[in-house]
Each structure stands twice: as structure tokens, then as C-alpha cells.
Symmetry: C2
């Protein structure tokens, strides 16, 4: 089977990670795949906050958990968080553009033998004062909307099997 | 290079098509790749209206053009339109889910040697009375939000080169 088709259909969302850090080369490759996702009108408005620093990873985890009023780790122990944000001053279709970037990154991680999951609440975290302060401290200026957190790492245990696809999701008119 | 990574980074949006029809097998593969995209809370809420029928393809083109007040073909001559819609009664993250499905389909088309482009205005078309009637006639009941139209076909002429990626889109914190 075509390797790409196989990878697109076998990628799964993983919710348990070891603390083993992926290589910087693999993370760079994942981010590059994200940069080449299509954007509405070609604005290239999404950016990536690529976090392997444990202090910031843990801070983002805490902020994310606060949105849910929990104190568990929403990143499931994954050591890497690649947060996609979109510059809403330039994007025509911000959520769609950021989601396509997320998709490319999730698929690229799988192609490299890494596990991943889309974790929500980037929107709320980076709309908060503390989230905005994190961006400002990094020199990221502008009006950025958080789209998603692509957590990346090595699965702890086997990856889950895909649940069966629901029926009647493709409607052909030939 | 890893074939999947190569495909994720070399896929381009194509805006000129011949009228050559892709094989049903390839279109099935593209749709299957879409079905396996992740969805928030695993709801599998996105569906695909897979149109190779010329009358309906042309009708969707006309409706789409009306949204823009033009009479050109927004599908650039492509013979196939795979429209992604999301059931908003079940989806937790409808635009994100539908966009991930679109991304898998765009990438799968490229992996099979086909060209593709995300065409907007599915939202407006399927919020209109005529769009709703199309769904109803096909037995698609419920509250569906149009996310995007994945046009598919064979490029007329060479695919465009990628424009250079803008700088400073990846912010590392290591």
C-alpha cells in the first residue's frame, strides 16, 4: 500500500506517554510539515510555539488544566507540546488554517514513529492574561488565536486500535 | 526521505484542471483517509458528499459562484467535488474536525498523484434553501455545517511551486 495513505489511515490519538524526548530533528520535521499546510488565500498565518522546555511545558499543562478545573496533566505525560496559534489580523480562515497545520503535524509525527494527540483549550489559555504574557515574553506580538496543542512523544504501551468507522459517512452522487 | 513527510510538504493547491475523471478506486481511497482523521471526543461527526455527477457538480459550482456574485467556476474545472459537512448536533469541535478530514483528503489526493484544492463557501451553500434541499433529497437529515469543498482532478499543466515559507513561524522554547 502507498505509505502515505497507510499513514493517514493508521494514525491514532495517544493518551499515555513515556518521558522519553523525541529528537530535535524529528520535531523540526514535524514543524516543517506543519508550515507547508495550505492556508486560505496563502496568508501563512499560523505559527508554532514548539515547547520541549520542561518548565514551560508544565506551565502550559497547568494553565490548560485550570480551564477544565482539574489538576491532572492534560498533556498525558508527553514531553513535547507544539501549540498552533493563528494571527487573526492576517488570516482569512484562522481555525481552518490552524487545523490543517495541526493535521499535518499529527500525521508527520506518526510517519516518524512518534505518537501524538490534539489537545484542546489553546484558545482559552492564550486568551488569558498569563497566556498572553508567555507570548509577549517570547517576542510574539499581535493578536493570536490558540487553535490546538499537538502533544508529541513515545507512547507508553501499544497505541490504541481505531474504533470502527461509523456507517453512512460517504454519500456518493455519480 | 520518508514518503509521507515528502508528500505532506510537497502538496500544493491547484487551480486549473483537465476534465479527466479520477478513478473511483482513488476517490474511495481519498474518502477513506478522510474518515480516519481525528475528531474531538471521537464523535466521527464529519461526512462527505462525494460528487462526480456532472449535473450536481455544476449545480454546486453555480451555488458557490452565487455566494461570490460571479459566474465563473469556483471549482476550476475539476470534475470531482468532495464536500465535507459536519453534524453540529454531535460534533464538539465541528470546524476543527471537518478541517482535519479535509486535510487528510487533500494529502491523500496528492499521495495518489492527483491534484486538489480547498474551496470555501460550503458553509453558505449548505445554509441556503437550495443547499439544504440537495441534502434532503439525498436522505441526509440533520443540522449540517458545510466546512469545505475538496476539489480533485488532474492538473492542467504543471503544479505550482510552493512560495517560500514566511520566516519566524516556529518559536522554540527548549
Amino acid at each position: 500500500m502507498n505509505q502515505t495513505i497507510s499513514d493517514l489511515t493508521t494514525r491514532r490519538s495517544v493518551r499515555a506517554y513515556s518521558d522519553r524526548m523525541p529528537s530535535k530533528a524529528d520535531l523540526e520535521t514535524i514543524c516543517q510539515a506543519g508550515l507547508y499546510a495550505a492556508t486560505g488565500m496563502g496568508t501563512q498565518s499560523p505559527i508554532i510555539l514548539a515547547v520541549t522546555n520542561k518548565a514551560l511545558r508544565d506551565r502550559l499543562s497547568r494553565l490548560n488544566a485550570q480551564v477544565m478545573n482539574t489538576d491532572s496533566d492534560p498533556f498525558y505525560g508527553a514531553p513535547v507540546v507544539l501549540t498552533v496559534l493563528v494571527d487573526t489580523d492576517t488570516a482569512v480562515t484562522p481555525v481552518e488554517d490552524g487545523s490543517l497545520m495541526m493535521g499535518n503535524m499529527l500525521n508527520a509525527a506518526h510517519a516518524l514513529g512518534l505518537s501524538s494527540c490534539w489537545i484542546n483549550r489553546a484558545r482559552e489559555v492564550f486568551a488569558s492574561d498569563e497566556g498572553k504574557a508567555i507570548l509577549k515574553d517570547l517576542g510574539i506580538e499581535g493578536n493570536y488565536l490558540g487553535i490546538g496543542n499537538c502533544i508529541v512523544g513515545y507512547a507508553q504501551g501499544p497505541e490504541p486500535q481505531a474504533r470502527p468507522r461509523k456507517e453512512n459517512r460517504i454519500h456518493w452522487v455519480e
